[in-house]
């Protein structure tokens, strides 16, 4: 076994993640290779150091004040009148009933709404055929909200009108119904999904569009940069 091969599995070894046969191979190598043995020891020392990393003890006053201060904040929050949920969110207030794929679908829908909200004038849509592409609202499924795991369901009219493959981040989408799936494969969607899920878990009364509007300029730019990859390609 080469040291490079053994070195790449040392953390898995420490985590107990290796199957027995593979583990025996690595352990055998470590018995005869001092360099890899030292590398393993270095990881063990590092993890011991991380475990020993202290949390500075806050002043005793923090703990004395913690609960009274928390109660004041809860009372203050309770005194603020709760907003009515958006109608399309009615009945969807309990996050635990949603499987993650549906939340991911909502994220895709939310991103699609962002396309509608943010991109006119910003998105570079190239038409290589002398054909008018479907409006972004149709592509994105409009304000479809939570429509199931795919999140974006274009209308029949939109499908008939589009026809040509769409390129999403270099991936040809032959059928616009696959658009949502293509968006979901973008590497940054997980983070957006997490953010949407967080927003829904803790602000279920809010409309995702409020959340989208609250994105930082940097986040908006990330989305816009990726969405610039949307374009019409020749059939």
């Amino acid at each position: 076994m080469r040291c490079e091969e053994a070195g790449s599995t040392l953390l898995e070894l420490l985590e107990g993640e290796l199957p027995p046969g593979r583990r025996a191979e690595i352990v055998g190598h470590l018995e005869v290779c001092a360099a890899c043995g030292n590398e393993l020891s270095a990881y063990e020392s590092l993890l011991a150091l991380v475990r020993a990393d202290p949390v500075p003890e806050p002043s005793p006053r923090l703990w004395e004040e913690f609960l009274p201060s928390l109660k004041r904040r809860i009372e203050q929050a309770a005194s603020e009148a709760p907003r009515e949920p958006a109608s399309w969110l009615s009945g969807l207030r309990s996050w635990r009933v949603f499987p993650r794929p549906l939340i991911a679908g909502v994220a895709v829908a939310a991103i699609s709404i962002l396309i509608v909200i943010r991109l006119p004038g910003l998105l570079s849509v190239r038409t290589e055929l002398q054909k008018t592409p479907a409006p972004a609202e149709q592509l994105a499924g409009g304000e479809s909200g939570a429509r199931g795991s795919s999140g974006v369901v274009p209308t029949e009219a939109a499908r008939r009108e589009i026809g040509d493959p769409v390129i999403v981040a270099g991936e040809a989408v032959e059928d616009v119904l696959m658009l949502a799936a293509a968006i979901q494969r973008l590497p940054w969607v997980d983070e957006i999904t997490d953010r949407v899920e967080t927003a829904w878990v803790w602000r279920p009364e809010s409309d995702p569009r409020d959340w989208l509007a609250s994105l930082s300029e940097e986040e908006q730019q990330i989305l816009i940069d990726h969405l610039r990859g949307f374009r019409w390609s020749p059939s």
Binding site: E15, L49, D53, P54, F66, L70, I74, T198
Partner: protein, 183 residues
């Protein structure tokens, strides 16, 4: 612990406000510690841990008990911290009265000085980790959670949780490689 937690939740849901107080007292330190390890900032840790308890208070009736209360609360804390970090929050050096109690370097041995230097370097290196890697590292090393539970807390796959953890450890290893023994 799990049954005791559920007992407190039951009492709270039946209108016993003191049960929530007790729950806060039992959990405030671990919630604060997690928030501190995520933000490396005492003020932010205090504010975010309070915000986490507010969310717990508001949503306790929705806690379905399929996971432990700890897992559910960690999810709240970590999400709040990730949002906080994603908004571009910066860590800061703790004030003098927040410094961890450690041996006086001026009177300490060379080994103690090296240890202090190494811990400072570690703290700086941890601050450079991306938030999700920092969360995976903290939950794995300090809370000894299995990767599957970390994945549940972060809302990602178990494989991704492992990758975050391995990346974090390797990154720290790289940054601290110049120390004797590698760390």
């Amino acid at each position: 612990m799990r049954e005791a937690d559920f007992g407190l939740i039951d009492r709270f849901l039946q209108g016993d406000a003191a049960a929530f107080d007790e729950l806060v007292r039992r959990r405030q330190r671990e919630v604060y510690n997690l928030a501190y390890r995520m933000t490396r900032n005492a003020e932010d840790a205090r504010d975010l841990s309070q915000e986490a308890f507010i969310q717990v208070y508001r949503n306790l009736d929705r806690f379905d008990r399929r996971s432990s209360l700890s897992t559910w609360m960690y999810r709240i804390v970590v999400n709040l911290c990730l949002n906080h970090l994603n908004r571009g929050a910066r860590s800061r050096v703790p004030s003098v009265d927040e410094q961890p109690e450690m041996a006086d370097p001026s009177g300490g041995s060379l080994a103690q000085l090296e240890e202090k230097e190494r811990q400072d370097a570690l703290a700086s290196a941890i601050e450079t980790l991306p938030p999700q890697q920092r969360a995976s590292l903290t939950l794995r090393v300090h809370h000894q959670l299995p990767h599957a539970e970390i994945a549940e807390i972060l809302g990602i796959s178990e494989a991704t949780a492992k990758v975050h953890y391995f990346h974090a450890v390797r990154a720290l290893r790289g940054k601290l490689a110049h120390f004797r023994g590698g760390a």
